[in-house]
């Protein structure tokens, strides 16, 4: 990608209390490292907690996809809190309802089902990236 500002920012919650938080992290890595490395940019949520200038600038100038593990929706809230635009708000617990055979377990090390759920989420987001990056596509608030 020539213009880095056109990259879509990916912000997972990486919640440390339950497996679904680890699924968000794994999905983000799958998307940013494997599926669409040139079109995405991972931003650490902890930087947005502090309001780090570089991270704020990143979320303010690029469309953001947030991936949250629980109903607190920390990633989504903090992107907005920092002036960013959430174009896709992915909730893993919603995705799990659609894939009940993929029950994630383990936090430090996700089980195979958890990794598969993360891959599915990453693929769904990847399929939507072209639409997200199209001018005027930043509508926000939809669940993947």
């Amino acid at each position: 990608m020539n213009d880095d500002r056109q990259a879509v920012v990916i912000v997972p919650c990486s919640g440390i209390g339950k497996s679904l938080g680890s699924v968000t992290r794994e999905a983000a890595y799958e998307l940013c490292d494997s599926l669409r490395p040139s079109e995405t940019r991972l931003v650490a949520l902890s930087k947005l907690v502090l309001g780090d200038a570089e991270a704020r600038e990143r979320v303010r100038t690029s469309p953001a996809v947030t991936i949250d593990g629980c109903k607190q929706m920390c990633a989504s809230k903090l992107v907005r809190h920092n002036g960013g635009t959430v174009v896709r708000e992915v909730a893993v617990f919603e995705a799990f309802r659609n894939h009940k055979n993929l029950k994630p377990e383990g936090i430090a090390e996700l089980n195979a089902e958890g990794k598969q759920l993360a891959r599915l989420l990453a693929e769904e987001i990847a399929d939507q990236l072209d639409g997200i990056r199209r001018p005027g596509a930043e509508q926000g608030g939809q669940h993947a």
Partner: protein, 249 residues
């Protein structure tokens, strides 16, 4: 460790809150391999080295959560573990919750121990795994310094094995009980008030005689402006009287 001493000095007045544990807050920074090290070291201590003695909270909940979440580091002497010099966990905890009792920065530990370059934010290399060992060890030592070393029976107790959080909301250690009360026309959320009421009720303190004690306990967990102390005292006492009436058989 100033904050630990503070907690100990107050113990005589503390209500029966959840068992005193050490808080662990990790940055979990997704961008760097050192963030993964911080996360895995925290999880190892929480689930394996000192289960039952430690509790965690997701760092972003200090902003995205409620007052009960922000009270975390005021209740638990807290150790933060960060991947890099930005120290998001340490600074964020101090900014929104309370001053950490101790802090660890993984990149510093890596340098101190002469560990090779840590790589692989998704899958750590050998140096990264070594860094997890070192960071978890350091974190465990700090937990023991705060709580005192655990008895071997506890360490070897199978019941204290890895915790698997149950379903529902986020299962980190958030959610200190709070109660909103109307003080001089302003709605104020006071931490731990439900537990304070419960404890004094169990001690059979009458609403008429408990006003000073209630205020003293409330002040442990809440900032009460000196000029408003009398109003807080009277209002909390009234709320306690209402509580006692509700729970009376």
């Amino acid at each position: 460790m100033e904050s630990v001493a503070l907690v100990q000095n107050k113990e005589d007045n503390m209500p029966n809150l959840p068992e005193r544990k050490v808080g662990v807050v990790s940055c979990s920074g997704e961008e760097l391999a050192e963030g993964t090290v911080a996360r895995l070291a925290a999880l190892r201590v929480l689930h394996e080295a000192r289960p039952g003695k430690t509790v965690t909270i997701c760092l972003p909940l200090f902003l995205a959560g409620g007052e009960g979440d922000r009270a975390f580091a005021r209740f638990h002497p807290t150790i933060t573990i960060d991947g890099c010099d930005l120290r998001c966990a340490a600074r964020g905890t101090e900014m929104y919750s309370g001053k950490p009792a101790a802090s660890i920065v993984v990149s510093h530990l890596v340098q101190e121990h002469g560990i090779d370059k840590v790589e692989g934010r998704r899958q750590l290399n050998a140096a990264g795994k070594q860094a997890v060992d070192v960071a978890a060890q350091r974190l465990t030592e700090l937990v023991d310094e705060i709580l005192g070393p655990p008895a071997l029976t506890v360490l070897n107790n199978p019941a204290s094995g890895p915790r698997q959080p149950k379903s529902g909301g986020c299962s980190c250690g958030s959610g200190i009980p709070t109660k909103k009360i109307n003080i001089d026309g302003k709605l104020v959320e006071l931490l731990a008030l439900p537990l304070i009421f419960q404890q004094l009720r169990e001690l059979r303190r009458s609403p008429e005689s408990a006003a000073d004690e209630l205020l003293a306990m409330a002040k442990i967990y809440n900032l009460v402006p000196p000029e408003d102390e009398q109003t807080y005292r009277d209002t909390i006492a009234r709320e306690y009287a209402a509580f006692c009436q509700e729970v009376s058989p």
